[in-house]
């Protein structure tokens, strides 16, 4: 009766060394983030402002998006609106067709992942090349990100080296990161120079200027957009910020929160198309309007995809990104999955102790843990409640609403302490997997009080 997450987590933890490495590596990123956040006395004020600006922007989306479009068009960009993933993918395909393009080089985007764009286009014969190193590794390995900021964090360099021997003909047994990176760089350089179309994601879109901002550490977005005659930037519609002043709040928070750097190595502002280049911007809804109308969950739209909620989550660190059934893992993924399709992705709701570390680490103050609590209340209605938990809950309700019954139960409870081990510790007792059962006291506090054994 366990969830798919619980089962996958059990498999992940079975390799204890691997689990420990994963936990410690991501905890290190959390510590790097702490160092950064503690170096800014105004950190909590920045979070407060980021949250307030997002709440403002998301409740004035129509106005801000139209303002953005007006300015972007005046700057020479071509703006498209996509109501869902299918429309988004069709728009991209159409642009590729118009330019008789075959090869598209792209920087990292969780939105194209959300829209299933790569498989859609590749099936139609287009060559889509991921230019972020982590994403490129995953593309070669035919797998998907396990973390939204460090997509290949779960893969060790030895495995990367073995894979590269196959795809790039690198030296057998050489897994030196610098050597491998150089090999990829050499291979990618040709692709950067010859791709027909460049695509980037969008970290922020500024309404007052019509520009978009793309943050990377590798400069791959900048390199990618430098040569092709077409640049397509694709954005979820909640990426909008009102103006450059508010943008500054977010660029200060993003990298510090995400990876513990003062800023990303490259923060590129795209306002106008380069000479002779076409600049397309696709604004995507794909369910965001509905989230906006959901009073219990609209704050998920505050998310700036820094990924720190994953690093701080004690469950994510110990179960890995692939243990979740939605393509975005961790606290934000649990919530976004439920918003996408609650029946399909309810298996992730168990992956939370309600420790609330995520809510406190979030730079835009998304109430992640509180929202997971609220989703749990919906599971029974959705027909996705765990029947064992439901039974336990009903049983407890029954007992606790009857003090006389509860007191009697406590009188007999110490007998459980004497139960033979083999009866107590078996497959049915999930507590007993790695823990001894609590020992019931000979006398409850209530009984001691009633019989005046406590000196008053």
């Amino acid at each position: 009766m366990s969830t798919k997450h619980a089962e996958a987590a059990t498999r992940f933890i079975a390799d204890r060394a691997e689990e420990k490495w994963h936990d410690e590596t991501l905890w290190m990123v959390r510590q790097k983030r702490d160092k950064m956040s503690h170096s800014l006395p105004e950190w909590e004020r920045l979070r407060q402002l980021a949250s307030a600006i997002k709440l403002y922007s998301n409740s004035h989306l129509a106005d801000l998006l139209e303002e953005f479009e007006r300015h972007a068009v005046a700057n020479g960009a071509i703006v498209h609106w996509a109501k869902d993933a299918a429309e988004h993918n069709a728009i991209v395909e159409q642009i590729l067709q118009q330019h008789h393009a075959k090869v598209m080089i792209k920087s990292k985007s969780m939105l194209t992942e959300e829209c299933g764009m790569n498989p859609y286009l590749m099936e139609k014969g287009y060559d889509i090349i991921e230019s972020d190193l982590g994403e490129r590794i995953l593309q070669w390995m035919h797998t998907h990100p396990s973390h939204i900021v460090m997509p290949a964090i779960h893969i060790k360099r030895q495995a990367v080296g073995r894979m590269m021997e196959r795809v790039l003909g690198t030296e057998p047994g050489n897994s030196d990161p610098t050597y491998l990176t150089h090999a990829v760089r050499k291979d990618m350089r040709r692709k950067f120079l010859t791709a027909d179309v460049a695509m980037t994601g969008v970290n922020f879109a500024v309404a007052s200027t019509g520009e978009i901002v793309v943050c990377t550490n590798e400069g791959n977005a900048d390199m990618g957009t430098s040569f092709p005659k077409v640049h397509i930037a694709t954005m979820g519609m909640e990426k909008i910020v009102p103006n450059l002043e508010s943008l500054g709040i977010f660029t200060r928070l993003l990298a510090r929160s995400g990876t513990g750097q003062p800023s990303t190595a490259y923060t590129a502002h795209y306002r106008k198309p380069m000479n002779g280049q076409e600049f397309h911007i696709i604004i995507v809804d794909n369910g965001r309007s509905e989230i906006l109308g959901n009073p219990e969950h609209f704050r998920t739209l505050n998310c700036i995809r820094c990924g720190q909620c994953m690093n701080t989550c004690p469950v994510y660190r110990r179960s890995g990104g692939y243990s979740y059934t939605y393509f975005i893992p961790g606290p934000i993924g649990i919530n976004l999955g439920m918003l996408r399709n609650p029946r399909a992705y309810s298996d992730n709701v168990s992956a939370c102790t309600l420790c609330l570390s995520c809510s406190h680490v979030c730079p835009a103050k998304v109430d992640l843990g509180e929202q997971i609590y609220r989703w749990r209340q919906q599971l029974d209605v959705l027909g996705r409640a765990n029947s064992m938990k439901k039974l336990l809950s009903r049983g407890m309700k029954c007992l606790m609403e009857r003090p006389a019954l509860f007191n009697t139960a406590l009188k007999f409870a110490p007998a459980v302490n004497l139960t033979p081990r083999m009866l107590l510790y078996n497959r049915l007792n999930a507590w007993g997997v790695g823990r001894e059962m609590p020992r019931f006291a000979k006398q409850s506090f209530n009984e001691m009080w009633k019989t005046n054994q406590i000196e008053k």
Partner: protein, 246 residues
């Protein structure tokens, strides 16, 4: 000032000595304290598991039990936080305005913020490692959450500092969850046990003889790990230390 002592179900059943220590401590500090008889449960286990409606009658029952008291004080931060944070909206479904929310305190919070003793008579010549429990830290602010950039303060540490001959330590991951999480412990046993083990090892690495904290539920979880793995550390609720020798 009349204080109603709130003894959660599992303390009643498993750790009555924590209830006794709490009572003694409050009385010693000159507080007029009483225990409303036949308390059971605040409803947190059901609600956290997703069955908030199963908690409604229990929340209402707690309202009645503590109606005549100025304060509700309990030795379990998580249960106190649940009453404070969740009873109001649970009770609102039955058009009941939650009165407990403004008068309920974790016992450390109550002693630290309301009684404010400058000395205690307790003696505890041992090294302890403080367990900063999630709901105590992030809902009741018993200490500053490690995620936030605020000067570090800990009500637990302040109170323990009044105890004679005690040595106080804290784990490296100062407020990482122990993995209990109510029914999480049985729905996700692999992760839960792994977290419990890691947390106990972190406490153990301080060289402490005891893990102490404001939440008997976390302590109960870690005790399960300690006894299974036969680790050289014990658990003790903070009230038992503050009341030591009284």
């Amino acid at each position: 000032m009349k204080v109603g002592l709130f003894i959660p179900c599992y303390i009643n059943a498993v750790y009555p000595e924590v209830g006794v220590a709490s009572y003694k401590l409050l009385k010693h500090l000159g507080v007029e304290v009483d225990y409303p008889l036949d308390q059971t449960c605040c409803g947190q286990p059901m609600a956290n598991a997703g069955f908030e409606n199963d908690s409604f009658n229990l929340a209402l029952r707690m309202e009645r039990l503590f109606q005549s008291y100025d304060y509700v004080v309990g030795p379990s931060a998580s249960c106190v936080a649940f009453v404070k944070e969740n009873h109001p909206h649970i009770l609102a479904k039955g058009d009941h305005l939650c009165a407990n929310k403004d008068k309920i305190y974790d016992i450390c919070e109550f002693i630290h913020d309301v009684i404010r003793p400058t000395r205690l008579d307790a003696l505890f010549p041992h090294k302890v490692s403080i367990h900063n429990s999630c709901h105590g830290v992030r809902e009741l602010h018993l200490s500053t959450p490690s995620e936030e950039n605020r000067p570090y303060a800990s009500k637990l540490r302040n109170l323990l500092s009044l105890v004679k001959d005690i040595e106080i330590a804290e784990p490296k991951r100062v407020d990482e969850c122990c993995g209990f999480g109510g029914m999480f412990a049985v729905e996700e046993p692999a992760v839960s046990v792994c977290m419990g083990h890691d947390k106990v090892m972190d406490h153990l690495s301080t060289g402490a003889e005891y893990i102490t904290g404001a939440d008997s539920s976390c302590l109960m979880h870690m005790e399960g790990v300690i006894r299974r793995e036969k680790l050289p550390i014990q658990i003790i609720h903070i009230t038992q230390i503050l009341a030591a020798g009284l």
